[in-house]
Amino acid sequence: MTELSTLAGTDSGALKGYNFAFLDEFTKREIRRKILKAVAIPGYQVPFGSREMPLAKGWGTGGIQITLSIIGRSDVLKVIDQGSDESVNAVNIRNLVSRMTGVETTSDTGSATIIQTRHRIPEEALTEDQIMVFQVPFPEPLRTIEPSEQVTRRMHAEQDYSSMWLHLYEDIVKHGKITIGARYPCLVNGRHLMDPSPIPRWDVPRLHRSPVLHLFCAGREKRIYAVPPHTPVEPLEFEDYKFETEDFSGKVCERCGSSDTFLDEIIDDATGDSRYLCSDTSFCEKRQRGCA
């Protein structure tokens, strides 16, 4: 039985002095209610009362609030940053959740139940028992073309995405192709335009009818949105200027030899030569060991 003192955060959680999963129960409840609405309206940004976290805004405060609101004692958590389990941001978030909940953590994509990510989707195929949590810096795909929240909200209400189409058209006129790298705008369930967070274009088609529940959260911008499993996610494209993923043809990962994964380009300062490595470090290690 949990006493009210626990709700106020004065009783012991996994770490003495904190509530289980750091957040107080009222905060979790609000976030949970908003997650359910986000799931019911795929791609629509639900406003929520984002809390101050022991993490600077812009370092994953949204993702961490989702993770802490959904996580239970039997979950296994994986945290990645640009595909890596070992970056400072990923390690700190993983340590925070682990200390506040006592849950098991892993770098193995297959054994995680919750995967919090910044800017990538793991290369390994995900299953319907897993939940992806995305850290989102800019939830509004229309913000680059329209600074007013009131106006963009009306544009979503009226499904008026003509200025985004115009933006893409102008890009083609100026540069001969669509130059958007990460944060490629997608239409979700044929209704709401969505910013898929700064995942590379490579990962965008992997959201389409994926078996996994994807939860997105922007802490600074105070928005939650979701892509449920088996939901159409279509990148905007023209009939004659199709959406394209990054092209790595002829390039392989220097460590594992992979030619079918998203690669990071590393330029040697001395020689100016380019080297390529898998961005998903856990997957790369598995390949090196011959497991994947």
């Binding site: 039985m1 949990t2 009210l4 626990t6 709700l7 509530n19 289980f20 129960e25 009222f26 979790k28 409840r29 609000e30 949970r32 209610r33 908003k34 997650i35 359910l36 609405k37 986000a38 799931v39 019911a40 309206i41 795929p42 629509y44 639900v46 406003p47 959904i70 996580i71 239970g72 004692r73 319907e128 909200r153 009306r154 979503h156 209400a157 009226e158 369930n189 209704r191 709401h192 009818r209 078996p211 529940l213 979701a226 449920p228 499993p229 088996h230 939901t231 159409p232």
Partner: protein, 209 residues
């Protein structure tokens, strides 16, 4: 608590909180079951056994509301042991009792609201999330004998899913379907007496068979 607020009573009801419900860990487990069901409409999800002792025959809809409600949201109960259930929820959650047209959560007993559900909030085009979630006390889910049989498709469903439920009237389903105007609409949760639950969010296309 302003004058225009239509909830009755104080922040909490007058009773004593149900000691069987763990606010932290039971809420979390029930929420995850609910999230699974909402993300996969038509999937039958079984709620954990928690021996709360609420008024009324079916404790599972109340477990859901004890997970979702607090002082920031409002609810109303239609049919059944309305007064006792309302009091139980106020005591256990601090949720505000409200008129149907303002309620965030609506609990319907007896399989039908007799047309009242048409007054529930469906959200606005700018804020479609400001809509009601409706929980139905169902007889039995996964069983279409003497009940409704629905064919579901849409987000969360790979192709199609059939779901049968008894104890919910077909007229009620028709009333709700007439209100669904995506992205506006109601999100439904059917909760039966064996702890089985199924969700039908507004994004689901429903065909009554």
């Amino acid at each position: 608590m302003g004058r225009d607020c239509d909830h009755k009573g104080g922040f909490r009801g007058d009773g004593v909180r149900d000691p069987a419900f763990d606010l932290i860990f039971d809420s979390q487990r029930i929420f995850r079951s609910l999230l699974d069901a909402m993300a996969n409409p038509g999937r039958i999800v079984t709620l954990p056994e928690i021996d709360i002792e609420p008024p009324g025959a079916n404790r599972y809809p109340l477990l859901l509301l004890m997970t979702l409600l607090d002082h920031e949201v409002s609810f109303c109960v239609l049919g059944g042991a309305q007064t006792q259930v309302t009091e139980y929820l106020k005591t256990n959650t601090g949720g505000k009792e409200s008129r149907l047209e303002n309620s965030d959560f609506i609990l319907v007993y007896g399989g039908s609201s007799h047309g009242l559900i048409q007054r529930a909030r469906v959200g606005t085009l700018e804020y479609p999330d400001e809509s009601a979630t409706v929980i139905y006390d169902a007889g039995s889910i996964g069983d279409d004998r003497g009940g409704v049989l629905l064919e579901l498709s849409g987000p969360g469903i790979a192709d199609k899913r059939m779901i049968g439920a008894s104890g919910i009237e077909e007229n009620e389903i028709e009333d709700v379907l007439a209100m669904q105007d995506y992205p506006l609409g109601l999100d439904l949760i059917f909760s039966d007496r064996a702890g089985r639950m199924v969700c039908i969010p507004r994004s689901t296309t429903v065909e009554v068979m």
